[in-house]
Symmetry: C2
């Protein structure tokens, strides 16, 4: 059996009792470590589970999934995913591959940012499609997600923006010289995401992510150090949200009064927040 087990969002104790049981009964345990992170590392998990945990990087999962699945028709193998198993496309691939090999698969669900973002005070059913914002480079400044935000915006829906994570990156020099030296991991901050959005708005100028548009910056949702700040994009540029992971919610104009009431608690500046809510949002 292949168990695909969500670990939730914070530390080793966010696994479900059912998930922990499966891990303990598995002969091999893999940890997918490139789409998200917990607040604890592999060593902590190994101590907690009482067994070895193999880090599965993107290359392993995407190009060498058969090594993960080896013998899984006869023994139990656990594949651990931060958040919920169906948060990222890449895990779906693994399930499809297991099916092709006639390996039974059991998914053990858990919280992901896709539902835990409700912590920001906005109702989940008022969110439109979710988008991902990737790091701009000198030469590559993709803005296609702006069209997705615009679609949500048109119907007054909120947008959850997942922020880029770069692990196991090589510098161009190291890559050219074939040196397997990796750069330190990079996690996009709310500030970086907001800066990129404002830059795109300046170019596109369609009034979707204006300096005075309301948004909610979320850091380490579901952990003890969770930080949530609501404000205009301009205000959020300089807020220190601390360590990763961050995500950003763009507030849709269909916000209810009750949502505004909850979010207000997180306002960077309650007065500005109320004024803008009354002017552009709750009707």
């Amino acid at each position: 059996m292949l168990y695909v087990i969500g670990l939730g969002l914070s530390d080793e104790t966010d696994i479900t009792v059912k998930g922990l049981e499966a891990v303990k009964n598995s002969e091999r345990v893999y940890l997918e470590a490139y789409t998200s992170i917990l607040t604890v590392g592999k060593e902590k998990l190994e101590t907690y589970y009482g067994k070895e945990v193999v880090i599965a990087d993107r290359e392993m999962v995407e190009s060498d999934s058969d090594s993960i699945l080896a013998n899984a028709d006869q023994i139990d193998v656990s594949f651990l995913v931060v958040g919920d198993p169906y948060g990222a496309t890449t895990h779906t691939d693994l399930v499809i591959r297991a099916r092709e090999l006639n390996i039974p698969v059991k998914v053990i669900h858990n919280a992901s940012i896709m539902n835990a973002v409700g912590a920001c005070g906005l109702q989940l059913y008022n969110f439109g499609q979710t988008i991902s914002i990737v790091f701009f480079t000198e030469t590559w400044r993709p803005d296609s997600f702006y069209d997705r935000i615009k679609e949500n915006h048109q119907f007054g829906l909120h947008t959850l923006c997942l922020l880029d994570i770069k692990v196991k990156e090589q510098s161009i020099e190291n890559m050219a010289r074939g040196r397997l030296i990796y750069e330190p991991p990079r996690y996009m901050t709310v500030n970086q995401a907001v800066e990129q959005l404002l830059e795109i708005e300046e170019t596109r100028n369609e009034g979707i992510c204006k300096p005075d548009s309301l948004a909610i910056g979320c850091a380490r949702i579901g952990t003890d150090t969770q930080k949530i700040v609501a404000g205009t994009l301009e205000e959020l540029v300089d807020v220190d949200f601390g360590g990763p992971l961050h995500s950003l919610v763009l507030v849709g104009s269909r916000m209810h009064e009750m949502e505004a009431e909850f979010v207000k608690e997180y306002a960077f500046n309650a007065e500005t927040f109320n004024t803008i809510v009354k002017r552009d949002y709750v009707h």
Copy 2:
């Protein structure tokens, strides 16, 4: 401390280790029992936790929340929610009330249908807003959610439809006579939801939920008896999905090839499915 703890989707072992710890340390434990259900009842939970669990019905949570919150500034109280705490508006109210009373609140997240629906093979980021379908009555046949589906449809996004649950209902006769006798709980099936959608389509006739539109019926997601069937609305009318809870996904035209590949495994009729996918969906 008020702990608001998600129980996940299936049985008593879907609670997180962190959540179980909090329950065990709590002096009072409430179970919200009107927005969703587990596959196990209150007695099973009481045995598992080794303590009494008080059923909190809608009236208690909405009109008598202060009894739940009593002393929670000094002792630990757990409020258990099937799925994730932020799945329903009503739990947000409780958190707001606790804040007003200066009671510290800690939310322990878990899977909800809002993310576990990824099990159907469609990617979560391709979903638009979520809607709720309520039971039609003789005299009340609300169809405002049709406009929400239409908005998602316009951009090719999938729609998760949450299906109605009726617990502690009184018959009109019993209500009139003031008898506190309740009808058995009712859980909307995929079949009923599809019938209602087709009826609305017949009236509105905007081509949003046609008999040959693709949808995915989901029953008991996250449990061992999970059942997922993909097909046209017409096909799904007669599929037996078994016991509650059911939900329904309307497939958006922006479906990727990889999503279709995964969903195909659940097709009621693989041939029809492929033909319609090629004609109306993946491009």
